[in-house]
Amino acid sequence: MSLESLYQQIILDHYKNPRNFGEAPGCAVSVEHENPLCGDHLKVAINVADGHITEIKFSGKGCAISQASASMMTETMKGRPVEEARSLVEEFRRMMRGDQEFAALDEAGEMEALKGVLQFPVRIKCAVLAWDALESCLRGL
């Protein structure tokens, strides 16, 4: 287990240049989740039209893993039908439990980089935080 297997280049890139990061005053639904373990808080905001996620943003403070995972999540979800997004969250959770291969969700080929987190069990919570927040957003619809 090396540092490089956890913090792969793709993760560091998403951490330093997060996609879809920022406040989203125009978004209709937003949910803030906290990780009491590390004090991180992360807000996910979405807009939905015609059953699709038309806009998605995230904001907050967190470690490299939670921020990179949030960034990848927003890229994955933008434009998706709501039902598909819901099942993708479930798939991601299965992946982070080691119950499913990463390929299924990995259209951009980047999600694979989060596989390293599985070797660091205490960090899995960090990776799942944004996905949990999105699920709460979708539940509110």
Binding site: S2, L3, L12, P36, G39, H41, C63, A64, I65
Partner: protein, 418 residues
């Protein structure tokens, strides 16, 4: 001068290398690096004598206490009550009746809240805490305030992480029923002036509870000299096993309190209509206690007493000064708290690196440090930081281990480009 006796050089400090030999867990490599265990505020490592004491009990004396006439039960009872005497001496409690065995500081504080608190705190009363409390000396009192309608008041902090003692007199009123505060902050390392605060509490007729989780393992604490009403601490932070610990309480307070948990061993007689309580301290020890663990806590107390708590404290003071100096040499690193009286708990952040990521890099370097809010969310909110990284020292830590910490932080800065 031919037969001059050569005196050994006076060793001012501890013989840390010899002490380290007593702790088997310290001698391992983590991720290929020698372990530098710097998470002692969370829990300490255990010396071999403590590990042996627990095992010996199970191998030879295992029986329930205070119940049977057979030999094993008698041995178990003697050892268990013997451990109580050791703990009594360690904190200089006047009588053994004042030492209630608990699973740790959290249970001790809850015991006071659920029994003394419910019996004595009413609507309109005030509970005075501080802004630096661990959740375990905060949330139980919040519950008590909810049940009773009492008001919570807080003694604030100065920028250096000491308590705003100048506000103490204004905050203490005739309505103040209890002042509960930590002896030493588990985040800032601040050592609070216990005697002064306790005396102020007593002047308005309030009871004083001290959370000794971070002080009793690291310095001499004299319950009588400080005139404490209650003192709660955990065994596992002072070389003892998890599940061990004690609550000290003044006898007349404990006597007037209702029991906490009810069941076997805490009663004197039971009929179908009701029960009368056992004598102190067993009134508060319902059910089968952590017998093996408390016996081994007694061994831990012997171990620390043999070394001497003054010497432990002096070593940690020296090492803390060294660590603060070395950490101060790292650009972008901020240490929280600069109290003149402080112990070996050092919380910090490095600009541009999340503490979780920092602790991860440190772990790769064999350095065990903690990242998070250290069960002190209100304090972190006040610091304007959701979390911090914490290195906490004990009697077996060395300057080499501090250097490993410094190297790890430098590596993290390179890795994350901070």
């Amino acid at each position: 001068m031919t037969s001059a006796v050569v005196l050994p050089t006076k060793t001012v400090g501890l013989d840390v290398e010899r002490i380290r030999d007593d702790f088997p867990a310290l001698h391992q490599r983590v991720n290929g690096k020698p372990l530098a265990y710097l998470d002692n505020a969370a829990t300490s490592q255990k010396p071999q004598v403590v590990i042996d004491a627990e095992r010996d009990y199970f191998e030879h004396d295992n029986a329930n206490v205070h119940r049977a006439v057979h030999t094993l039960s008698s041995r178990a009872t003697l050892a268990y009550e013997g451990a109580r005497d050791k703990v009594r001496r360690f904190i200089n409690a006047p009588v053994r009746e004042s030492v209630v065995f608990t699973r740790g500081a959290t249970e001790g504080i809850n015991l006071v809240v659920y029994t003394w608190g419910r019996g004595n705190v009413q609507e309109g009363d005030e509970i005075l805490l501080t802004e630096m409390e661990h959740h375990s000396n905060l949330v139980p009192w919040q519950l008590l305030a909810q049940w009773s309608g009492a008001t919570l008041r807080y003694l604030g902090l100065r920028p250096d992480g000491t308590l705003r003692l100048e506000d103490l007199d204004a905050l203490l009123t005739r309505r103040t029923k209890v002042v509960a505060f930590t002896h030493m902050s588990n985040v800032l390392g601040t050592i609070n002036p216990v005697a002064e605060i306790v005396a102020a509490a007593h002047r308005v007729g309030a009871v004083a509870l001290v959370d000794g989780a971070q002080s009793v393992p690291h310095m001499p604490v004299d319950a009588q000299a400080l005139d404490l009403d209650f003192l709660a601490f955990s065994g596992h932070k002072m070389c003892g096993p998890t599940g061990s610990g004690a609550l000290y309480g003044k006898r007349h307070l404990l006597e007037a309190m209702d029991p906490f948990l009810a069941g076997g061993d805490m009663i004197s007689s039971v009929s179908l209509e009701g029960a009368t309580w056992n004598e102190l301290p067993w009134k508060f020890e319902a059910g089968t206690p952590s017998i093996a663990q408390q016996i081994a806590l007694g061994t831990a107390v012997d171990y620390l007493s043999d070394i001497g708590m003054e010497a432990v404290f002096a070593h940690e003071q020296e090492l803390t000064a060294y660590a603060l100096d070395r950490l101060g040499s790292i650009p972008g690193l901020e240490v929280y708290g600069s109290a003149p009286q402080r112990g070996g708990v050092i919380s910090f952040n490095v600009e541009g690196i999340h503490p979780h990521d920092l602790a991860q890099v440190l772990d790769q370097e064999g350095v065990a440090a903690r990242a998070g809010n250290h069960c002190a969310q209100p304090l972190h909110r006040r610091l304007g930081q959701p979390a911090s990284c914490r290195a906490s020292l004990y009697l077996y830590n060395t300057e080499d281990e501090v250097e490993a910490l410094v190297r790890g932080i430098r590596l993290a800065k390179t890795f994350f480009g901070a």
